[in-house]
C-alpha cells in the first residue's frame, strides 16, 4: 500500500513547525484535552510522521480544518513520497470552501502519484461536478484500471454516460458497479435515472428508492477508516453511540459515552445518551439514574422524558412511564418518539389494542414512516391473529418504501402462511432484487420451507 510506506519510520530532516489551535478559538473541553494529548506526543517525537498524522486527523475530525490543513502540509514536507498527506490537505481546502485551490491540488496529487487510486477518485468526482467530461473519463478509467474491484470507478463513468445520454453504456457500467457492491446506493440511484429515461418506470422506481437518501461516501483509504476514532465533539460521540447501539453493540456505546462524562458532567444530552445505551444494554437501573440526572438538569427535556418512559417500561413501572410519555406529548405535541414509547409501554403490559392505538397516533405525526406500519402489522398478525389487517399494513409499508426489505419479508411470510403461494413467490423475487443475500431474504426462504 502506498499510504503505509512511512508508517513507523522517522525522518531525518528538520521537522516542520507544530500546528496548535488558532488563538481565540473556543474549544470543547474534551476536544482540547484530546488535542493537548496529541500535541504533547508530537512535541516528544517531532520527527514521527505517524503522530503528526494523528494530530492532523484529530483536527479534521473535530472541524478544525485550517489546523488540519497546516498539519497535513507539514507532513507532506516531512514525507514527500506519501500521497495521503497532500490529498487530505486538498480535502481540507475543500472544507474551507476553496474549491479552485482544492481542484488544483487534487490534480497535483494524481500528477505526482499516478498509481494512487484515491487521488484519481477525487479528481473524477471533482471533474463530474465541473462538467469536465474528458477529465471525468480519464480519472474514472484510471481508477478502474488501478482498483478493478472499486465500484466507484464504473459508477463515476456511468454517471458521465448518463449525463451524455448514452443510456445503454450507462446501464452496463452501473449494473457492473452494483454487481461489485450491492450496497452502492449512488449506483442504484443513477441506474434508476437510466431506467426512467428508458421508459422502464417500475424498475426505475425501485432503483431510485434503493439508491436514495444516503451520502456518497468517498472512496475509503487508510486514513479515512481511522477518522471516526478521533471525534471528540459530544454530538458526534452521541451519534456514534447510537450507531453502535443500532448495530447491537450497546455496551460499546456505554463505554464510549462514559469517556465523555468527566468533560461534560451534567450535560442532559450526554446523560440521556448514556441512559439510552444503558437501557439497550440491559442495565436499566443505571439507565434510570442517568435519565433522572438529565431531567434534574433540564426538567423539560422531551428527549429525556421519552427515554425515561422506555426505561420505566423495561423496569415494569408502567404508570410512571406513561406519565413521562404524556408529559413529553404535552410539551411537544406530535412527537413521534413519545407515541412510540407509549406503544412500547402498552405492549409491555400485553395491551395490544392500546399499543396499536398509540402506533396509529405515531403514524398521524409521521405518516411516511414505513417502520410503524411494519410494527402494527406484526402486532396484528402475531398477537391478535388479524392477518388481513396485518397484510394491509405491510402493503402500506412497501408502498411508502418500495425497497424496505424487512417489510417485504414480513409480507411474503404472511402471504405464505395464508396460503397465497403465488404472491409469496412474487414477493420472494422482489426481495431477491432489493436485498440479495440479506437476512430478510433468508427469513422468508426459511418460512417458505416450513410445512
Amino acid at each position: 500500500m502506498v499510504g503505509g510506506l512511512w508508517y513507523g519510520t522517522h525522518v531525518s530532516s528538520p521537522p516542520p513547525p507544530l500546528v496548535r489551535p488558532a488563538a481565540g478559538v473556543t474549544l470543547d473541553s474534551q476536544v482540547r484535552g484530546y488535542l493537548d494529548e496529541l500535541i504533547s506526543e508530537v512535541e516528544r517525537h517531532p520527527s514521527d510522521p505517524d503522530r503528526r498524522k494523528n494530530l492532523g486527523l484529530a483536527y479534521a475530525a473535530n472541524g478544525l480544518w485550517s489546523e488540519a490543513r497546516e498539519t497535513f502540509l507539514g507532513l507532506k514536507s516531512m514525507v514527500p513520497q506519501q500521497p495521503l498527506a497532500p490529498m487530505y490537505a486538498a480535502v481540507a481546502l475543500q472544507e474551507l470552501s476553496d474549491e479552485a485551490g482544492a481542484w488544483r491540488e487534487f490534480l497535483q496529487v494524481t500528477s505526482s502519484f499516478p498509481a494512487f487510486a484515491p487521488g484519481w477518485y477525487r479528481v473524477g468526482e471533482a471533474a463530474l461536478r465541473r462538467g469536465d467530461h474528458p477529465k471525468v473519463e480519464q480519472a474514472f478509467e484510471r481508477l478502474m484500471a488501478l482498483a478493478p474491484r472499486e465500484w466507484r470507478g464504473p459508477a463515476g463513468l456511468g454517471e458521465l454516460r448518463l449525463s451524455q445520454g448514452r443510456l445503454e453504456e450507462a446501464q452496463s457500467l452501473l449494473e457492473k458497479a452494483i454487481h461489485m457492491d450491492f450496497s452502492a446506493k449512488p449506483a442504484h440511484y443513477l441506474l434508476g435515472q437510466v431506467y426512467r429515461n428508458l421508459g422502464r418506470t417500475n424498475e426505475a422506481q425501485l432503483a431510485l428508492d434503493l439508491g436514495s437518501g444516503e451520502n456518497r461516501l468517498p472512496m475509503p483509504d487508510e486514513w479515512s477508516e481511522e477518522a471516526p476514532g478521533h471525534m471528540r465533539l459530544l454530538p458526534d460521540q452521541l451519534a456514534q453511540a447510537e450507531e453502535l447501539s443500532e448495530r447491537g453493540q450497546p455496551e460499546q456505546a456505554v463505554q464510549l459515552l462514559r469517556h465523555a462524562l468527566p468533560f461534560h458532567g451534567e450535560q442532559p444530552e450526554l446523560l440521556n445518551g448514556l441512559a439510552i445505551a444503558s437501557n439497550r444494554a440491559g442495565q436499566s437501573g443505571e439507565a434510570l439514574a442517568y435519565v433522572d440526572r438529565a431531567l434534574q438538569a433540564d426538567p423539560k427535556s422531551v428527549a429525556a422524558l421519552v427515554t425515561r418512559a422506555l426505561v420505566r417500561a423495561r423496569l415494569g413501572r408502567f404508570d410512571a412511564g406513561r406519565m413521562d410519555a404524556e408529559e413529553a406529548l404535552r410539551l411537544a405535541p406530535c412527537l413521534t418518539q413519545a407515541h412510540l414509547a407509549m406503544a412500547e409501554l402498552w405492549l409491555s403490559q400485553d395491551n395490544d389494542r392500546k399499543a396499536i392505538s398509540a402506533l396509529e397516533d405515531a403514524l398521524r405525526c409521521d405518516p411516511k414512516n414505513a417502520d410503524i406500519h411494519v410494527e402494527i402489522g406484526g402486532i396484528l398478525w402475531h398477537n391478535l391473529g388479524e392477518k388481513g389487517s396485518a397484510m394491509k399494513h405491510y402493503q402500506s409499508a412497501v408502498s411508502i418504501h418500495p425497497a424496505h426489505a424487512h417489510a417485504w419479508s414480513c409480507l411474503g411470510q404472511l402471504q405464505w402462511e395464508t396460503g397465497d403461494s403465488i404472491a409469496a413467490r412474487q414477493t420472494h423475487e422482489q426481495l431477491i432484487r432489493i436485498a440479495p443475500g440479506g437476512r430478510e431474504l433468508a427469513e422468508l426462504e426459511s418460512a417458505m420451507k416450513a410445512p
Binding site: A61, E99, G131, D209, P218, L233, E242
Partner: protein, 578 residues
Amino acid sequence: MTPRLLWVWGFLLFLGCRRTEQPSPTGSSASARETEPVEAIAKSSPWFARESESSGFDFHHSSGKTGRFFLPEMETGGVGLIDFDQDGWMDVVCIDGGSVDPGHPTPPRHRLYRNLGHWKFVDVTESAGIQCPDGYGMGCAVGDFDGDGWPDLYITQLGGNRLFRNNKNGTFSDVTQQAGVAVHSWSTSAAFLDYDGDGHLDLAVVNYIHWTPEREMPCFSAGGQRDYCSPVNYRAPAPMTLFHNRGDGTFEDSTDKAGLLRAYGNGFGITTGDFDHDGRVDMYIANDATPNQLWINRRNGTFVDEALLRGCALNSVGVPRAGMGAVAIDLFENGWLDLYVTHLVGEGNGLFVNQTGNFIDGITPDGPMAGSLAFTGFGLAFGDFDNDGIADLYVANGRVRLGGKAWSAQDAYAEPNTLRRGLGGGRFVEIRPQGGTEPPIFGTSRGLAVGDLDNDGRLDAIVINRDGPADMLRNITGPEGSWIGFHLRDGKRREARNAVVRIEASGRQQWQQVQPNQGYCSSQDPRLHFGLGAARLVEHVWVRWPDGITEEFGPQIPGAYRPIQKGSGQKLPAAFSW
C-alpha cells in the same frame, strides 16, 4: 430520519464530501490556465445603490436571539411587495422575528411601508392594522384571496399564521379565524394558487419542523463552539398544509383529502407551476436536508409526489440537500419550467432542468449554480436587471452555522450576496462588485423580493438581513435596454395566478408565468417584467390562462406596464402549439 444520518453527517465532513464545479481543464497536469475558473468574473460598475433611511424605509430585523440558539432565530425574515392601495406603486411588507425565548416573550414587529413614489416611503403599519400580537415571524405571501381585485396579505409564523384582508381603504382586517387559515405549526413559505381551477385562489403553506422550545438541544460547530442545530437533529419534519378556497371568504383544510400527508420534509421553499404541461398547476416544495416534493396535480383535487421519479427530489446521486428557497423559471426558453433551489455551503445551489416533465440535476461550469459552493443561499430571484433580454440571478446568502471565511467583524454568519448576469442558454457570469453593490452587502441575508419600486422599468430589490437593517437596492444600470411589463387579470378582473405569457420580440421568445409567491418566505412583484435589449417592438404576446384558453394580443410598444385582461385578445384554437 434515520439515526445513522447524524453519524454519517458527522464524519462525512471529515472525509470531504463536497463537489467542485468550477474550471474545465482539459489536460492531465495542473497548469495555471487549467485551474483558472471558467466562470469568468465580470467586473462592472455597480448595478444597485442602497437607499438610505432618509427614504423612510428604515426596517431593522430582529431575531430576538438571547444566546440560547433557538433554531427559528436562524431562519426568520421574509419580505413582500404589495400594491395594497392600488396607486400603482409597489409597497413593501417586511417580516420581523420577535422572540421564541419563553423567558423574553416579544411579539414580532412586522412593518408595512407605503410607497409614495420617487423613493419615498412611510411606515403605515399601525394605521393599516397589520399587527401580530403573538407568534414568531417567518415570511409572507401576497394574493387576492377574495377576488375583489385588491391584494391581501398572508403572514407565516411559528405559532399561528395571519391572513389580512384588504379593506380597499388603506387598512386591513385580520380574518384569520373566520377564514380558518391559522396553522399552528412552524410555517415558512406560502403561495396562493388555484389548484382546482374554480377561479378562487387556494393557499399552500409550507411547514418546517415540529418545534417547541423544549425540543431544543445544544449543538456545536467546529472545535466545540455553541451553535445552531441542523433540522436533522430534531427528527421532526412537518407536512405542508393546503387550504381550499370555498369562494365565500373561508377555506377548508384539504391537506389530507388532497393526499399531501403522504410525503413531507423540513419545508422551506415553495414554487408552483404546470411542470408537466397537463394544464393544471403543480407544487414544488424545497426541503431542508430531506427530499424535496413535486406534487403533481391529478386534476381531481388530489396530488401525488413524483419528485423522486421525475428527478427533482435529490441531487444527481440520490442525496438530499438543504433546500432553502425555490423558484420556477423557464431558463432555456423552451416553454418548460425549470427549478432552481438554494442550498447550504458545500452543496452548491441546484438547477433542475425540465426535460419535458422529467428533471436532471444540471451542473455546468457556467450555470447559475457555479460559484455557489462557498455560500449558504436563501432568498433568490431571477429577473432581467439590465434589460438585455436575458434573466439574471440575485441570491441572498447567509450562514446557518459558524465556520469559514470571516466576512464581517460584527456578524459571524454574514456572507456576501451574489449577482450573476444571464448570458442565455442557462449560462451566467458573476458580477463584481459582489452582489452588484459597492461596497458589497455582508449580512445574514434571508428574504429577497424583486420588483420595480419606482416604475422605471428596471428591477429593484429588497433584502432582509437577520438582526440588521434591510437593504433596499435601487437599480442604477443604464437605460440602454428596452422593456415591457404586464399585469394580467382574468375576466372578472381577478389575479390570473399561474397564467403563462410568451412574447416574441426581434425574433426572440421569452416565457414567464404569474407567480409572485416564490423564493424564500417572500413575495415578488406580481407584474411580469421582460427586458428586451435593443428590440423596439414586441411583435406577439400570447397568454395561456389558467383554464387552458390561449389568447393572442397584438403588437405592444415597450416602455410601460400594460394591463392584459382575459377575453380581450384573440382566442386561439385548442390545437395552438404552445
